[in-house]
Symmetry: C2
Subunit: 172 residues, 2 copies
């Protein structure tokens, strides 16, 4: 999953949310194109350390280079944008791909991204958020399996409750 246009301080929270969504909904890694942001990387790694799984975070100076590299190694590049094809129409073709690179932007999207992507895909045809677009896309792509997804080697996990908070450590 590729996030382009990260500026350290200003985008910290939104990019963090993107990374956590990617992890929780089943993506393997996030590549952040923009400012190298060690605080952000540490924050995401801390979540993975506590909550399990093998989610990876890395940075790149060039989204063009990354998209080219992934496409050359067989990835199908899906750019999430409100200008794209409706997700329901686009999904059958995307599901047939073995390897998918999801691209989400920030507020300013360079025109070229639309051309580099194999498919531009829209969630709602309305303005909302790259965070929600990513979540709904991954939910559809993995057919809602996020509730049963396992995150190996988690230190903590939750005991779902109608009211209150139930947190268990893995030694409970």
């Amino acid at each position: 999953m590729l996030r382009y246009g990260h500026r350290s301080a200003r985008d910290f929270r939104v990019t963090s949310h993107c990374a956590l969504v990617a992890r929780a909904f089943g993506a393997e890694q996030i590549i952040i194109c923009g400012a190298q942001d060690n605080d952000l990387a540490k924050s995401i790694e801390k979540v993975t350390k506590n909550w399990g799984g093998t989610f990876k975070t890395s940075f790149s100076e060039s989204w063009q280079k990354e998209i080219k590299k992934y496409k050359e190694s067989g990835f199908f590049a899906v750019h999430l944008t409100m200008f794209g094809l409706p997700v329901n129409k686009a999904m059958p073709k995307i599901r047939k791909q073995k390897k998918v690179l999801i691209i989400i932007g920030s507020q300013k999207v360079e025109r070229n991204v639309y051309e580099h992507a194999d498919a531009n895909v829209s969630i709602t045809l309305q303005p909302h958020s790259e965070i929600s677009a990513l979540a709904v896309f991954l939910d559809r792509f993995f057919d809602g399996n996020f509730m049963t997804k396992k995150f190996p080697q988690s230190k903590i996990h939750l005991k779902p409750q109608l009211k209150g908070k139930g947190v268990l450590s893995n030694t409970d």
Copy 2:
């Protein structure tokens, strides 16, 4: 839909995303509990003016007061939190309700919210984002009808495209 814990400058983007998600995925209004933020209200109203529909934004000083008011007028209060019941299990009961108040928090959640809610509901049992939780909840609640939802009196609408941007005004 109720968002609690808004601080003007710091939360502008995240609360904006929450509001736009609420609108795009079919909620009727957002009540923001926390700082009165006229810039935020204007920004959301501008989207509704251009993109149509009747989405409303308002502010309140007290989430307790709002929840009490809505519950007393027959609303079922659903708090989205990773500590809650899995969305798939909780949804059948929620779907039977005529009026639903969705509550989403910010980084610090007061313990009382868990008690005031009729149901605490979790999307993924993992940490991610209130923005994604809201989107996935509304997607499930409305059974994915966001792609066909109409926003009356929009000034612009999109022409979905595999590549490039297609924007039409309503006079085209």
